[in-house]
Symmetry: C2
Subunit: 228 residues, 2 copies
Amino acid sequence: MLEILPLTGLPEVRPGDDLAALLGDAVERAGGLEDEDVMVVAQKAVSKAEGRVEQTDDVVAAILREARAVRRRRGGLVIAETKHGFVCASAGVDLSNAPGEGWIVLLPEDPDASAARIRAALGERFGREPAVIVSDSFGRAWRQGTTDIAIGVAGMRPLLDLRGEHDSRGYQLVSTMIAVADELAGAAELVMGKANGVPAAIVRGYAVPPGDGSASELVMPPERDLFP
Amino acid sequence: MLEILPLTGLPEVRPGDDLAALLGDAVERAGGLEDEDVMVVAQKAVSKAEGRVEQTDDVVAAILREARAVRRRRGGLVIAETKHGFVCASAGVDLSNAPGEGWIVLLPEDPDASAARIRAALGERFGREPAVIVSDSFGRAWRQGTTDIAIGVAGMRPLLDLRGEHDSRGYQLVSTMIAVADELAGAAELVMGKANGVPAAIVRGYAVPPGDGSASELVMPPERDLFP
């Protein structure tokens, strides 16, 4: 059985805040960390703590600056590839839950490093290091609505690689990789929500694929990208 | 807090099996249903129970027959639109966890109806009707690995529509719809796995968007599809 616990009671995060300390306080209120805990932290909180916010009257210019390439554009909608390689609306630039009118929030420069810093700080405080995922809400091709996915990971591999394993009938699963970091991020979103100020959650009881992974493993390499 | 419980001990599902009864037995072993339970059932089990399996020596012909349109083709990989409107590999035709060598499993004809039948049968047996999701593992554009998503729903709306709601700062969320049915399906996959014969799970404690929804709401309408 898995449990998904919202981490509540965090203040509005501001540039320069020690997010790992705020998360640690929330973990303490929730009773501490356990083995096989995965902490999922909303990108918005990470970006704010890291000062990745700015005041602008030209959001489109900011989007184009944050983008490595624009994939599609229709009206106000820009589907862009970020510098990290993620393909998403507005290159991750967001006006909602920003620090104020006229402010935007940008993606962290290096979300894996953000996750690793949080993981290290929690490890120091609690004596065990959870896997950490930095999550964001992305739209998808062909499907309506957003789901939360992983843009940064630490202390886990984001993909569960079943290639070479066998199904219950003995058939070899030749092409099966499961994006468990994305599924964990989406699961956490169910208790975090968009409007209720819960910037993090713990997924408890999931044995992550072990290793020192990166969310870049989740990015489809250009030579295999059929929808450039 | 959410809990995700695997439903274990089901036999290998065969054509003609009463899947709802098998699921009900597993629910009983797990202690029964509670309010705010969402049952997620793997498409493979649903398809097998409904006889959506066949023996063939021409898988490609089966894929092209199941497809309404082929979106991309590279080597053995066919990205196709199914008759339901879902865009996925092989139009949902699958060789893994099939009934035997040379057998394939097709998507249910009407996964919403499959979900509704399971919901009704469980409601009759337990006196409360859970929301039901039929899930399948889909690849994504631009990202590696599959995540489980909803191809059929009953007793819920698949999208949480936050348009018109406000964020913690009072900013109106103008374009936010969350594909919670997909996030629920992905969350359930974390305890179901591909290789270990757990064809269903319960997500406990999530208040689904109420209503009589359809997974077709998750399909991007053609006029908004930027990646045809």
